[in-house]
Amino acid sequence: MCPSRFVRAPAVHRSLPSLAFALLFAASAALAQPGMGQQTKTFKIGGPDELWDVTMKMEMPGMPMAMPAQTYQSCLKKDRKGEDTIPQQENCRTTDVRTVGNKVTFAMECTGKDPMTGRGEITSTPTSYDGKMQVKSTRRGQEMEMTQTFSGKKVGACTDESEKFIANAKSAGDSQLAKICGDSMEALQFELFTGKDAVCVSQRKAFCDKVGGLGRDMREPATFKAVVAKASMDYVQGSFRACNVNFAETSKAACSKALSAKDWAFVGNGSCDDDVRTAGPTYCQGRDYYLVDRSLTSLCNRYARLTRGAGAVAGAGEPAAPGATSTKGNAGAPQASAPGTTTQTVPTPAAPKADPVQQGVDALRKLLPF
């Protein structure tokens, strides 16, 4: 095992498809040794392997203050090779490794968000090593050069348990992933099954088989309602789309059944707008809102949503709506009408709307001295 495996600070993985990678990354990060985070011990003291104290330092020209050295302990396999002392980084590969006597030279190339190249050498004895690496990188168009120095000193014996640790971490990751995929299938979180790097992509067929089944079962309004209540309409529609199942057909069939059964709560749920437009004139049109039977409000609320507003001829040709009322009308305070709400029908003129010309005059009167 290498004495100084390290990784850069992990990137933030926000998207779920990156979860699998994140879990594996977590396992490798747990083995990460110096620098960026808390060291996780993957060995125990005493045993057949070698315990080393490692010190690492980074210098960058132009930095006002030197970065502090990082130290940690590492457990090397007894049968280690000289190149095992080369520092490892995520997204980096080591090339051109040459060993001459007790000296190892190497090149390093890193890709990804912060690409860089470097060359280094390490000189070692059975109980110590010293190394240096020159690193070049480009950030925001600016070239930077850094020098990384590292040294190790054998201080005792240990047992390397990193392989066991990786196996445990992978097993924990696998079972967590299985749970996530199971829950997500129930919730129809299609992105986890059908995206390019979807974390549950291996179960895509099972997921789409399930959606295909829903395409048939959801033709029953009761099933339709239950599925939408559990997974939300956005996820239902997204899942149908992702699996090439025709949602419109399923929805239309369910709506048709609901319309026949006068299941207005279903018809008004937002999936049956053609049926709402068909039924609305019969059950909602021309009625006072507060007189509409409560069993119809879902239908009529949707009808109002679809037909009132820009482009719709609001109330054209309809009889005047009953006015709000007052038990005593407007009798009372002089030059004042009384606020109230009862049953007397009073055509109510809307308050005058703003006149742009008058607005202009008013604005100018404020600005000009006349």
Binding site: D234, G270, C284, Q285, Y289, V292, R294, S298, N301, R302, Y303, A304, R305, L306, T307, R308, G309, A310, G311, A312, V313, A314, G315, A316, E318, A320, A321, G323, A324, T325, T327, K328, N330, A331, A333, Q335, A336, S337, A338, P339, G340, T341, T342, T348, P349, A350, A351, P352, K353, A354, P356, V357, Q359, G360, V361, A363, L364, R365, L368, F370
Partner: protein, 284 residues
């Protein structure tokens, strides 16, 4: 004369410019015929509006501010003695008689659900000893809330030349009031009762018919006077999405409020339902 001509000419030029400038500042107006002024806010952000800063007659929406001041001043359990003046109040009322003793909470319920002016006056007089003193407090509170287009001449919403509020200001008042749990609790009820100390019970329905008919509706208040027309502040919450609508001078306030609320919730969930643009006849 020439000066007047100049004013008119420049005014016409300004008029041509003003609507464009107003459009840049104001949210879209998909319901141009719905109300003299209206405002729709989704999670506190204005989404649609028309003339939302113009000064309108607020009618009984005034009582939202009245309730807020009452709740800030006295405990809901405090006892109020109804004055003769309050008992004679015009318009909507529950029929209080002078000398009746009632809890503040009961009067608030009558004022907010039934829009009862007798309860409203009794509360105003209880808090500030006189309606005039209470109105002074209302105007001071309006200034403190930063309301620039509101002024109140009475506690209950009677029309008067210097009694006005904008839709935008009323939204601020409603938000502030809804933050009071006691207020939010009362305006969410479909029915209410008010009891006198000697056991008489008044029962009434909430005039806000959105409750129980619109999914997630939680209040707030209706209003009507001849000059104001039909008015409404409506509030609904679905999941974490909160929608507030204010309509002033709205001939068909219920249907339009419903359309606005439903559109707002569609908007909030990024619905692919087409924007309201159907040519089908609208419900009344």
């Amino acid at each position: 004369m020439a000066r007047r001509g100049l004013v008119v000419a420049v005014a016409l030029a300004a008029a041509a410019w003003l609507p464009a400038a107003a459009r840049a500042a104001e949210p879209p107006n998909p319901w141009p015929d719905a109300a003299a002024a209206y405002l729709v806010r989704i999670d506190g952000v204005e989404r649609w509006a028309a003339a939302a800063s113009t000064r309108q007659k607020p009618a009984s929406l005034t009582k939202i501010l009245t309730a807020l001041l009452v709740l800030e001043a006295v405990a809901p359990t405090a006892e109020v003695v109804v004055s003769a003046r309050a008992a004679r109040a015009d318009g909507a009322r529950i029929g209080l008689a002078a000398g009746m003793r009632m809890r503040v909470a009961d009067l608030l319920t009558a004022m907010l659900l039934r829009s009862a002016n007798d309860a409203c006056l009794a509360l105003a007089e209880h808090v500030a000893r006189s309606e005039a003193a209470f109105v002074a407090q209302m105007n001071a509170r309006a200034v403190a809330m930063g309301l620039k287009d509101s002024h109140f001449a009475n506690a209950c919403g009677f029309d008067a030349p210097d009694h006005y509020a904008s839709a935008r200001d009323l939204a601020v008042i409603a938000d502030t009031a809804l933050a009071q749990p006691a207020f939010a609790d009362i305006v969410a009820r479909e029915q209410g009762t008010a009891r006198t100390r000697d056991g008489r019970v008044f029962r009434f329905d909430n005039t806000n018919v959105l409750l129980g008919r619109v999914d997630g509706a939680r209040g707030v208040k209706t209003g009507w006077t001849k000059a104001a027309g039909r008015c409404l502040v409506g509030f609904a919450q679905r999941g974490n999405t909160r929608v507030l609508v204010v309509l002033l001078g709205a001939p068909d306030r219920w249907w339009d409020a419903v359309a606005m609320l439903e559109s707002a919730f569609d908007e909030a969930r990024g619905s692919r339902v087409p924007a309201p643009s159907s040519t089908a006849p609208a419900p009344r």
